[in-house]
Symmetry: C2
Subunit: 147 residues, 2 copies
DNA sequence: GTAACTGCAAAATATTTGCATCCTT
DNA sequence: AAGGATGCAAATATTTTGCAGTTAC
């Protein structure tokens, strides 16, 4: 349960994000964004459909996730089992250009996926000719709760 | 164009792999395995359907990929754009337990995905409580041919 | 001969598109 | 008022399942 001040802070954050991305403020976008802000874990399309207070059309969820991606509000996480999960971008992400160079962790037991913002992506030395732009690291194993 | 000796070697390799995985030798499995052995790049389901000499039913391709996964013959590569690609495992992979701790590279221009077998996955230090079992690294950028 | 594999049909699921209506600005 | 966002219907695409016929061993 959130305290009123925290609640207001989060609502402001939601409005800020939508505003700086030049998106109009709608219930669907606010709800989905709230879900991301409230959740520690990355969310699958399915989670989003299931967890919003008001039910939004499946198509609206698709379109919202798509535009959030384009605007650099969220990013996808590539997981070993190829289920698609989405997580909030940090501030460095700009429109169409993501810099989520942090490590992702997927728990094999509970399936939760988290961004380990504080764990740096180590440098990778590539054979010559390859020009890296982005490095994704996904560690899987058991998370704090499950081990 | 392969020389006869190379051709025979590859055919032998195909039989070896199927045999040691205790799979019966069928045209579908041989064709799909041949595709992987001939290709430097990781393959999407779509590629496999399109490139086999003889057309196999879509369902057969699904089932073949699935059993190859189970047997540790191939592994999936998590890509930034969440398209699923498959690549041959190295010998260390056993049934149900993959050790593909090498780096994958996805070219943003041509879309080709390759395993950089020789590039080691760097050590990642996780917050306490997290127990890593597998580390996947996907680098995206431009490949040798495209840069 | 038997168990395993395949193809076909169909079900179930996931994703995209078009359009009329409603909402935000 | 105008442009953008949404919901609904429907088109596509993807993946799974059941079953009967075929093939490998």
């Amino acid at each position: 349960m959130l305290f009123p001040t925290n609640f207001i802070m989060m609502e402001n954050q939601i409005l800020n994000i939508l505003h700086r991305s030049q998106l109009s403020i709608t219930d669907g976008r606010k709800s989905i964004l709230r879900l991301f802000l409230e959740s520690d874990n990355a969310l699958a399309h399915h989670d989003i459909e299931a967890r919003t207070q008001v039910k939004f059309d499946r198509v609206t969820v698709y379109r919202t996730l798509q535009i959030f991606m384009e605007k650099g509000i969220i990013h996808t996480i590539p997981t070993a089992d190829n289920s698609i999960k989405y997580a909030l971008c940090r501030d460095e992400c700009e429109q169409g250009h993501h810099h989520d160079d942090h490590v992702h962790f997927v728990c094999k037991k509970c399936g939760s996926t988290v961004c380990l913002e504080d764990v740096h992506v180590p440098a990778v030395r590539l054979p010559k000719g390859f020009k890296p732009q982005q490095v994704e690291v996904v560690v899987s194993g058991t998370c704090k709760e499950c081990s």
